[in-house]
Structures are given as C-alpha cells and as structure tokens.
C-alpha cells in the first residue's frame, strides 16, 4: 500500500491547518440542527400542539413553494418527525456545501498554490494527499453528526431515530465530498473546482425541489442525493435500503477519482485550462464597463438569493392569515412586527423589510469593492490612465446603487407574483408588494453612502466600520422593537423611517430625507477620495 504512505501525517497536517475553519463549520451546522429541534420542542409543548402542527404541515406542506424549499413532511406529529421535516433538506445541502469546500481546500487549492508539490517531493504516496483530505472531511462529518445525535438524544428524541436521522444526512452530504474530489481532478484551479461541485449540489437541490413539489415528476427526486436523504423518511418509517444509494455513489466516485488521479501530473488538471478571449470586447473601454465586468457575477448571485427569499416569503404570506386565525400566539407575534392593516399586509411589510436588509448587505459589499481594488493595487493601474478618480469611484457606487435596486425589484417581483397567485389577485397584489420592496431603496442607499463616505474619508476603517454599522442597523431594525429600545435608538436605523408598505400609507418626506443624506454621504466620500493619497496595502 505504498500509494498511501504518509496519509496519516497529511491527515494530521489537515487537522492542524483547519482547526478553526472546520470547527466553525461544524459548530455552525450543529447549532442550525440544534435550534431547529429546540424551537419545535419550545413552540409545540404538548401532543395537541404537535397534532395541530401536523395538520398545518399538511396544509402548508401542500404549498408547492414551501415543499420546494423544505422538502415533504412525512409525519410531523412527533418531535422527531417535525424536526426531520424542518431539518433534512437544508441540512444535507449545507453539509454538502461544507464537504465540497473542505475537499477543494485540501486538494486542488493545495496543488494550485504549489504547497502540494513541496510535500509530494517527500516520502508521500500518490494517493496519500487525496486520501488524507477525504479522511479529514469524513472526520468532520462524523464529529458533526455525533454531537448532533447526542444533543437530540439529550433533548429527549428517540435514540435510534436520532442516530438514523443524522447518519442519513451525513451520508447525503458526504456524497458531495466525492463530487468535489472529482472536480478537483478535472480542473487546475480551486475556483472552478468549487464552482463545478457547487453546480452539482445546486442541481441536486433543484431536481428534488421539482420532484417534491410536482407529483407527476416525483421520480426526479430519486436522482438527487438530497432527495434520497428525504426519502429515507427519518422518524417516519425509515427505509433502510435507501442508505445504500449514497454509499454506492460514494464508492463509484472514489473509484473514479483514483482512476483520474493516476492519469494526470501533479498540478495539472484532466481538462485543459480554459482560455479567455485574446482581445477585449469593444464595450470594455470605460471604468464603468470594467466595474460592470468585475461586479456582474456577484450581482447575479445576490439577485438569485433575493428571488429565492422573495419566493419563500411571498408564497406563505397568505397562509399567515390561517395560521394566525388558528393560533393567537402567531397573531401576537405578527402584531409585534408592527404596523396596522391586515395580518397578511403586516407580514408582507416585515418580509419586504428583510428584503431591504438583504439588498443593503449587497450594496455594502459592492461599495467595499472600491477598497479591495485600491489595496490590491489594481486601482493604481486604472488611475494611472486617463480615468479621473471620481469617475472610477463613481462607477462602483453607480453599480452598487443600480444593483441594489435590481436585487430589491427582483425579490419584490417574485414575492409579489408568488403572493398574488396564492391570493388569487395577481393584478392587485403584485404592484403593492413590488412598491413595498422598492420603497426600501433610499434606506439601502444610505448604507452604501456610509461605505462611500468612510472609503473617502477614513479608508483604514472602511471595511470593519461599514460592516459594523450595517450589523448595528440590522440588529436595531430586527430586534429593536421586541427588546423595547427607546424611540431615538430605533430611529438610528434608516429602515425605521420608511413607510411600512403595504401595511401603512405612503409618505414621501422621509424618503426625500434619506435620499438627501445619501447624496451628502456619497459627495463627501468622493470629495475625500479626490484629496487623499492612494492606500497601497490593507
């Protein structure tokens, strides 16, 4: 077995290198699972509550959008079954994400940076590096599911069922470690390797989303490892044989990866490196065009995220009426979200505010690209050409401003269509929801303006400062009222001043104020940037 010589040492190297990253992943995924189970136990203290939940699950569970995102509810009348309903689909997706990122980090990224070459020159077998990485990811998964199972058992869930649930999810996620092992052989760089593996994970999620929500296409779910994890039916009559599917697929992937590994050189990929165009397209001739080229990928990602959020919230807004009618606690919770109007409108106003905060996070991230370009010395090259400073910085601010409008409009549009179709009044509901989304824009822009002002005036604080301000604003907006903060503290958030459409009436004055504040912040930032030295290191 000389091909595996050194596996143990490389495994320990991986442990040493990733003690923080892997621990953070495991802890985060554990807390996610723990909080799902804990909130169900807390929210439904009696069997009568659980039975009501099971009925709701059957009702909400018939909602195709909910099923698409969360998977089918097999039996929500026990704590275990309700937890499995909430947990399995998103958890397997997240474990898959962790597994694929960790595998790429320890295989292809090590080769790309040349560190693997250094090690492979030592007494290390051909398979050792890959074997150590896969063992490491396996270990991470084992630790995660073990502590999760212990927590479930400690919370009083049945022992066998808890173990079966976590093993089922762990195996489903582990399949994607195998996928990333393959994509790491195929391409020469970590980014495309992650991209391809993530595309497979996304396809697996999508296949079962379609299969779960459309009965005539339910066979599609059988093509997805995430679908298998659902169909194992944890806490709802486990189908033992289903576990053979991920095991068999993992075995096939491992054999394939071993075959690929011996056919290529260290540092090379099976696929040739994809080449780019030998010349720039005609439109790539201005700072704005460059900024668009650099930022379009991120904008697409945030827009898709906003659409998914809009779909999931918009699709359940109508069900909130029913939920509130059945459960005074839900009604009270909704009333605490604030505003007047119908329960549906209050809920809509709340979700549109969440969309606004999502767009604010995008706007901050897009604005901070200025700082990254500057400190990584790419701005220097652009500014040494005939591009004025305000033109360069302004192009990034413009993309942030227009991009956040696109993110909001997309989320609002999808939420409006989803809610309109459920409510049976698409023409009436869509403009109300879309308007409620777009009204967030001035507050979103204030956040980008704070980033711009710090960039121009206090460039050393811009990254930490802007994210900190955003975190404070989001906390005040989300938890301020439940925590009983004073009015003046609540008013620190620009989102507090927005009219709560569609639950309240439209008022223009606060929007005008927020726009004026944005303009002042952006102008101060640009003026400061024109006057200061370029910063060359972070």
């Amino acid at each position: 077995m000389s091909g595996f010589t050194g596996t143990g040492q490389l495994f320990r190297l991986a442990l040493r290198r990733d003690r923080i990253v892997a621990t953070a992943w495991i802890l985060g995924l554990f807390l996610y699972a723990y909080s799902q189970a804990a909130s169900i136990i807390a929210l439904y203290p009696t069997q009568a509550d659980l039975d009501k939940l099971a009925r709701t699950a059957a009702g909400v569970g018939a909602n195709p959008a909910v099923v698409a995102l969360q998977g089918p509810a097999y039996d929500a009348s026990t704590y275990g079954g309700a937890t499995a309903w909430q947990l399995v689909t998103p958890w397997v997706f997240l474990i898959g994400l962790m597994s694929l990122l960790l595998v790429t980090r320890h295989t292809r990224q090590e080769e790309e940076t040349g560190r693997a070459e250094l090690v492979s020159a030592g007494v290390v077998g051909r398979y050792a590096w890959l074997a150590a990485s896969l063992l490491f990811v396996l270990a991470a998964n084992v630790v995660l599911v073990a502590i999760t199972a212990l927590a479930f058992i400690a919370m009083g869930l049945p022992v066998t069922g808890s173990i079966m649930l976590v093993v089922d999810c762990g195996l489903g996620g582990l399949v994607f470690a195998g996928v990333a092992a393959i994509t790491g052989q195929v391409t020469q760089y970590a980014r495309p390797a992650n991209g391809m593996a993530f595309a497979v994970l996304g396809a697996a999620f999508l296949l079962r989303a379609i299969g779960d929500s459309a009965t005539e296409l339910s066979w599609l779910s059988w093509l997805s490892p995430i679908g298998w994890a659902e169909r194992f039916r944890p806490f709802a009559g486990e189908q033992w044989w289903v576990l053979l599917l991920p095991l068999a697929l993992l075995l096939v992937l491992l054999v394939a990866v071993a075959a690929l590994l011996v056919r290529r050189d260290v540092g090379a990929g099976v696929l040739p490196v994809r080449l780019g165009p030998p010349a720039a397209p005609p439109w790539l001739r201005s700072p704005l065009a460059l900024t668009w080229r650099l930022q379009r990928g991120a904008l697409l990602g945030w827009t898709i995220g906003s659409a998914i959020a809009g779909l999931s919230f918009g699709a359940i807004a109508q069900d909130m009426v029913q939920a509130a009618a059945e459960d005074p606690e839900t009604a009270k919770m909704l009333a605490r979200l604030g505003g007047a109007g119908s329960i549906t409108d209050i809920f809509l106003a709340a979700i549109l505010s969440w969309l606004g905060m999502l767009a604010a996070a995008y706007a901050v991230q897009a604005t901070l690209r200025l700082h990254a370009e500057e400190t990584e010395l790419r701005a220097e090259q652009v500014l040494a050409t005939a591009v004025p400073r305000t033109g360069w910085a302004g192009s990034h601010l413009l993309v942030a401003a227009v991009g956040s409008a696109v993110v909001l409009a997309t989320g609002g549009l999808v939420a409006g269509v989803a809610h309109g179709l459920r409510a049976g009044d698409l023409g009436g509901e869509l403009p109300r929801v879309l308007g409620g989304a777009l009204v967030q824009l001035p507050a979103v822009w204030v956040m980008a303006g704070i980033g711009a002002a710090l960039f121009g005036l206090l460039p050393r604080l811009v990254v930490g400062g802007t994210w900190a301000v955003l975190a404070v604003v989001l906390s005040i907006t989300t938890f301020g009222e439940p925590l009983g903060l004073d009015r003046w503290a609540l008013d620190l958030s620009p989102f507090a001043h927005l009219p709560r459409l569609p639950a309240a009436a439209f008022t223009a004055a606060p929007l005008a104020w927020l726009l004026a504040i944005t303009a002042v912040l952006a102008a101060a930032g640009l003026a400061g940037f024109r006057r200061r030295d370029l910063v060359s290191t972070a």
Binding site: R293, R378, Q381, A386, R389, V535, S536, T537
Partner: protein, 313 residues
C-alpha cells in the same frame, strides 16, 4: 507645452507618519532620454513615481511632469504617459489580452500592430486568464499595455524584476527602440547592468534623496579604475601619489585603484618601471552604487511607497 525637461522635481518631501520616505528629492529628466532611477528597495523610487502619477500628494516641494502639475492635471497628463508598476496585480478573471486592451483604451487607445508585435516579442499568450499568469507574465501584460500605447513618457518601476534573461533581452531591445523613437523613459531599477545598458543618464537615490545624477561618463569620472600590472622593476612613487587607493605591492606585481582624474599620472609611473602586462577595469556602476551605500549605512531606510500601517504608526 513640451519643454526640454519631461520631469522636473525639486525639494520633494513625503512622509508617512514618522517615516520620511522622500527627504528633499531633486530629479531632472530631459525629454527624449532614458533616465535610470537607481536605488535599493525602500529608497523612495516608488514613492517618487506615485507622486509623479498623482496617486500620492507631496508634502512639500515642486514637481512638474510634461509641463503640468502631476496632482492637479493628473487625468490630462495620464493621456500622454504610461505606467508599469513594480508589483503588477491584475483582475484574475480577465484574460491578458483583455487587460492589455482595457488599459490601452483607458489611456486613449493603443496601436494594434504594435500590440501584436509586442505579444510576439515577449512571447505572451493573451488568451490566458490573469489568474494563471506568473509574476513575470503579469509584468509582460502591463509592459505590453504601456508600450503599445502612443504616449510621450514611460514610467517603468522595476519592470524586469520577474522576467527571465531571454525576456530581459527583449525588454532591452524594445527600450532601445523607444529611445530611437524619441520617447522619454524613467526606468526605476536596482539592476545595474540594465541601467548601464539602457540609460543615457542616471540618478542614484538613497534614503529619499538623489545623491548622484548625471551621464554614465560623468559618474564614472567620479570613480576609480582598478589596475593590475606586472612590472619589470618595483615601481617608484606610487605610494605617495594622491588618488591611489588600496595599493598592494608584491615585488613586481602591483594592484591598486586610482581616481579617474589621476589615472594618467599613475600610468606614467608604471611605464617608468617597465610594464610587462596590464589589466585595467573601468569603474562599474556597481562600484559607484556600492560606494554610496557602503560609506554611510543610514539606519532609516525610507518606506518605498508603502504607506502601510507601520508607516502610520
């Protein structure tokens, strides 16, 4: 407003916190010359170039570039110059060809024939993504973008640091062509052979000041020639001769350095003793350079354009 000087700098001061990166720097670059800007890392070369580009603002002193103010007229001046940074970072997902075209267009256009010619001379595949380029190849991208632009002035900050000897030779050819084409070049470097091969005039910078400036011939005049000779008889009067240094006498073998101004007299004394063989080595720039840096090891090397946290502490 094209004068005889392309760059005229006097008394330039730039501090980063307590660090004085430039300490009264003077620099004159004449139109049409290749000017070597010589100094070790941290002497202030990059800081000077960044001020000339309007990326940094000088604390004191005057700077004039192509007849304009580098800070105030930055955008207009940048149409007439091209810059190659010492540490080239590119956008990882753009191809080399895209970056070359983009930088050229932002500068006001580039010559497609010259672009093709330079790609061939520097043996660069423009289809590769910038992520996959080595340091040398990233430097080639910036060099081609700069050299294919139709500009009057090239500001090159250690442009060959990552190039292999073959490409370094190509670079020298290209710069020689540029000189014939009448372009002005400020070439910052710590590679002395490169500066000796390419430059009409040289300025040597140390700790934020220019300590020596002139043509290579003028600078050589200030230095010493090494002489090794095999004589018929032991020489007379070499020891007392002013301008002779490090004399080693070994019977009829003699080795010494002599100030270039005293060379004639020293040779006369040697021939009086009867010369059997003689080797003379002209002063290299390296010796000149080392002399400036060895005589006085200043303990405060200024940050080479690094307004880093250390600088601000």
């Amino acid at each position: 407003m094209m004068g005889a000087t392309a760059i005229s700098v006097s008394g330039l001061v730039k501090t980063f916190g307590p660090t004085r990166a430039l300490d009264g720097l003077d620099l004159q670059v004449r139109t049409g010359e290749v000017h070597g800007f010589l100094g070790p890392n941290g002497a202030g070369k990059t800081t000077t170039i960044r001020i000339l580009l309007g990326l940094l603002r000088a604390d004191a002193g005057q700077a004039e570039l192509l007849g304009g103010d580098p800070w105030r007229d930055a955008t207009a001046l940048h149409r007439r110059l091209a810059y190659v940074p010492g540490d080239v970072t590119l956008w990882p997902n753009l191809s080399g060809g895209e970056v070359i075209d983009l930088l050229g267009r932002l500068r006001g256009g580039l010559d497609p024939k010259r672009r093709a010619d330079l790609l061939e001379r520097f043996d660069l595949d423009p289809r590769k993504k910038a992520r996959t380029y080595s340091k040398g190849n990233r430097q080639k991208v910036a060099l081609i973008a700069a050299l294919a632009s139709d500009v009057e002035l090239l500001l090159l900050d250690e442009p060959t640091a990552g190039l292999d000897p073959l490409m370094e030779a190509s670079f020298r050819e290209v710069i020689a062509d540029e000189r014939h084409g009448g372009r002005t070049v400020l070439l910052s470097s710590h590679i002395l052979a490169e500066v000796e091969a390419l430059c009409d005039r040289v300025s040597i910078i140390r700790a934020g000041r220019v300590v020596e400036s002139g043509t290579l011939a003028e600078l050589r005049h200030l230095t010493r020639t090494s002489i090794t000779a095999e004589l018929a008889n032991p020489p007379d009067g070499l020891v007392e001769l002013a301008g002779v240094h490090n004399l080693v006498l070994d019977g009829t073998r003699v080795h010494f350095q002599v100030d270039t101004a005293r060379l004639d007299e020293a040779l006369r004394r040697l021939s009086a003793a009867g010369v059997r063989s003689l080797t003379s080595q002209p002063p290299t720039l390296e010796e000149l350079f080392l002399r400036h840096y060895q005589t006085e090891q200043v303990a405060t090397p200024a940050g080479d354009g690094q307004p880093t946290r250390e600088g601000e502490r």
